[in-house]
């Protein structure tokens, strides 16, 4: 198990490096003077030279890349001060350290992602289980039908509708806004509720259908029948035997869906005008702010890789055949 973890971590580092290199050099294929962007209008050649030096743009591209990558591990010194590791550089446009702006916005994106994830897992899997348990009944048909309708929605379509009804028409809730969890968990939840529900709706439908079908499949497995033949209660057989098996394909798909979930978070941030990481990424690539784009890319990749390792651990926990091989 430990060996597996170490292997995965080394793999993750290599992937991060490749993503970093790809993003970096892709950016430089765009003919653009980053210093001029930073300097703005009415820029004197002297100013330009200073900025160029401050940003390290006078050095060869490979050196710049090297400095950027070593900065992540060891930190870097800029004209404006020391940037502690993990240093993702300094924004061209604002001069802020990228790591700081990411940390600033990360809690929002994390809240959005985790909240949405928890909701769609509970509701999606729950509804799927219910449909499988009551297979062929009205409840099953209602759940299956609703999931088909809901899965055809999009966040940017559903979002404004929900906003229009819940906020502008009835005033039940305020416009979505991020309040730190540590300040007051209640206002935090109230502020995120609409984005959570809208984001979860899109994913819920898919997980409902999946958990229903894998559950029905599992219930026909021979080992499930054996458990019944032993005299175990039906609910026990359902949850302990059948559900355990049906979790495996669900966790696998969840691992694949994690990146979709992050991009869902980006769309959600735009839909509800929230300033999270996704917003930061899009803004920075529009203003050609290389360090910020790099930083967000790497951070996002790191996050997804981390979650993937977590999914593998869950997978190993569920299925002993994975654990021991």
């Amino acid at each position: 198990m430990l060996q597996f973890l170490i292997r995965r971590l080394i793999g993750a580092v290599v992937i991060m490096f490749l993503i970093g290199a790809f993003t970096f050099f892709l950016f430089y294929t765009v003919p653009q003077d980053f210093a001029a962007l930073s300097c703005g209008k009415n820029c004197s050649p002297e100013n330009l030279a200073v900025i160029r030096e401050n940003l390290g743009l006078d050095k060869p591209i490979t050196t710049q890349f090297w400095e950027f990558m070593t900065g992540i591990v060891a930190g870097r010194d800029f004209a404006t001060g020391h940037c502690a590791a993990p240093c993702l550089g300094q924004s061209f446009s604002t001069g802020e350290f990228v790591w700081d702006s990411i940390l600033d916005r990360f809690p929002l994106t994390l809240s959005l992602t985790v909240g949405g994830l928890v909701i769609f897992l509970i509701v999606g899997l729950g509804a799927g289980l219910l449909a499988a348990w009551k297979r062929g009944t009205v409840a099953d048909r209602a759940v299956s039908g609703a999931s088909i309708v809901l899965s055809s929605f999009q966040i940017y379509f559903l979002g404004p509708i929900v906003l229009g009804i819940v906020v502008y028409q009835t005033g039940w809730l305020d416009n979505p806004k991020y309040h730190p969890f540590t300040e007051n968990p209640l206002t935090w939840a109230a502020g995120m509720l609409i984005p959570w529900v809208v984001m979860a709706t899109i994913f819920t439908a898919q997980y409902t259908r999946m958990s229903r079908s894998t559950m029905i499949e599992q219930l026909q497995e021979e080992h499930v029948r054996t458990a019944r033949a032993k005299g175990m209660k039906q609910s026990y057989v359902f949850f302990r035997y059948a559900w355990r098996g049906s979790l495996i394909p669900i966790v696998t798909i969840l691992g694949i869906d994690l990146s979709a979930l992050l991009s869902g978070a980006v769309v959600t941030e735009f839909t509800f005008d929230l300033a999270g990481i996704g917003r930061l990424a899009v803004d920075s690539s529009l203003t050609k702010d290389l360090p910020v784009t790099m930083g967000v890319m790497l951070f996002g990749a790191f996050f997804i890789l981390l979650l993937n390792i977590l999914v593998d651990l869950v997978y190993a926990y569920i299925d002993p055949r994975v654990r021991l091989s």
């Binding site: 080992h223 029948r225 054996t226 033949a229 032993k230 209660k233 035997y241 355990r244 055949r321």
Partner: protein, 353 residues
């Protein structure tokens, strides 16, 4: 002695020794294509400490019958008629709660493929301990000790450490031993073994059969042994029921049925079996045709489209009238006793040498 004396459809009081008594059992599945008559008027008895063998082709209703005994069929698409009397109590009408208490406790089941019949997600020990805890109210610790005891009994080496293994760490034969340990953990009075050795190789098969016989002697368990392997059945069973198309076509003691079979289908089964010491140049005689569709079974005797001897029966009785299975040692066939005797001696017996 086994009392295989009841006629089909007759509701007779069960004898003192008859532990399980199935009377005129009819099982039907409704499918998209129509109604499948999986079991159609089947009666048999099983006693404590004795083994009833059930043989027949795939789809002859062997497994369905026994799943129905435990109530493991899908209640939504299945209709069950007739009686399944366990110590006089009818299981067909018994509520699910009551069946739960019987399963794994009084009546246990061993399935064909131990690879898929054991859950890959739980240790062997836990899977053996579960029914013991449920039915006896034992603590986790007691149940674990019992699981180790059972693993020892079925001949698993180092049971103290193997109890914590997962099924995939066991070999095929060991899995089936674990399955048997699981089935016998509550000392059931009846064990239903549904082709327990079909998925195993021959040497392991012999070990498992010996194990079952030993355990039967020790616990006095009645066994229903389902198989399509006539060699295995001659070794295991006391009585034999030959099934075809959801019906019993011949019954008797194993010796009687295998030595002096009376039904053309049983003749076919025996002639199609390869024998050691047989003349290698002599071809096997498979039964022509294929098993009948249970959706739309043939009229009259279900075996008549494949039977070579319909010409011996006057008129078209074979295709119009369903032959009944008489009492005791009997075969459901329109041929007269003399005809059966002479056909068997003249035509069938030479093939069996």
């Amino acid at each position: 002695m086994t009392t295989l004396t009841k006629t089909e459809g007759e509701k007779a009081p069960t004898g003192p020794d008859s532990f399980l008594s199935v009377r005129d059992l009819r099982v039907r599945f409704s499918t998209e294509d129509g109604i499948v008559k999986a079991v159609d008027g089947l009666s048999f008895d099983v006693e404590r400490g004795k083994t009833l063998g059930i043989v027949g082709e795939s789809g002859s209703g062997k497994s369905v019958t026994n799943l129905t005994v435990l109530g493991l069929h899908n209640p939504k698409s299945t209709t069950v008629e007739g009686e399944i009397l366990l110590e006089g109590r009818d299981l067909v009408t018994a509520p699910e709660k009551e069946l739960e208490k019987l399963r794994g406790n009084k009546v246990a089941m061993i399935f064909q493929d131990p690879l898929t019949a054991l859950s890959p997600y739980y240790t062997v020990g836990r899977q053996i301990a579960e029914p013991y805890m449920k039915h006896t109210g034992a603590s986790k610790k007691e149940a674990r000790a019992r699981a180790i005891e059972m693993l020892t009994k079925v001949g698993i080496p180092q049971p103290e450490s193997r109890v914590d293994d997962y099924p995939h760490q066991f070999s095929g034969g060991m899995r089936q031993r674990a399955m048997i340990a699981m089935a016998l953990v509550c000392d059931p009075d009846l064990l239903i073994a549904d082709e327990p050795t079909t998925a195993l190789d021959v040497t392991v098969q012999a070990q498992i059969l010996d194990l079952l016989k030993d355990l039967q002697q020790e616990f006095g368990t009645g066994i229903i042994f389902i198989t399509h392997d006539l060699g295995v059945i001659s070794d295991m069973a006391d009585d034999l029921l030959v099934m075809y198309s959801g019906r019993a076509v011949e019954r008797g003691s194993v010796r009687e049925v295998l030595r002096q079979p009376k039904h053309p289908y049983t003749w076919g089964l025996l002639s199609s079996m390869p024998r050691l010491g047989a003349d290698v140049s002599q071809a096997l005689n498979p039964i022509p045709g294929s098993p009948p569709s249970l959706l739309n079974p043939p009229s009259g005797c279900p075996f008549h489209p494949r039977c070579a001897f319909t010409g011996e029966v006057p008129g078209d009785r074979c295709s119009t009238e369903r032959p009944s299975l008489g009492e005791g040692r009997a075969a459901a066939c329109h041929l007269t006793a003399e005809q059966k005797q002479s056909i068997f001696i003249d035509t069938i017996q030479p093939r069996l040498r």
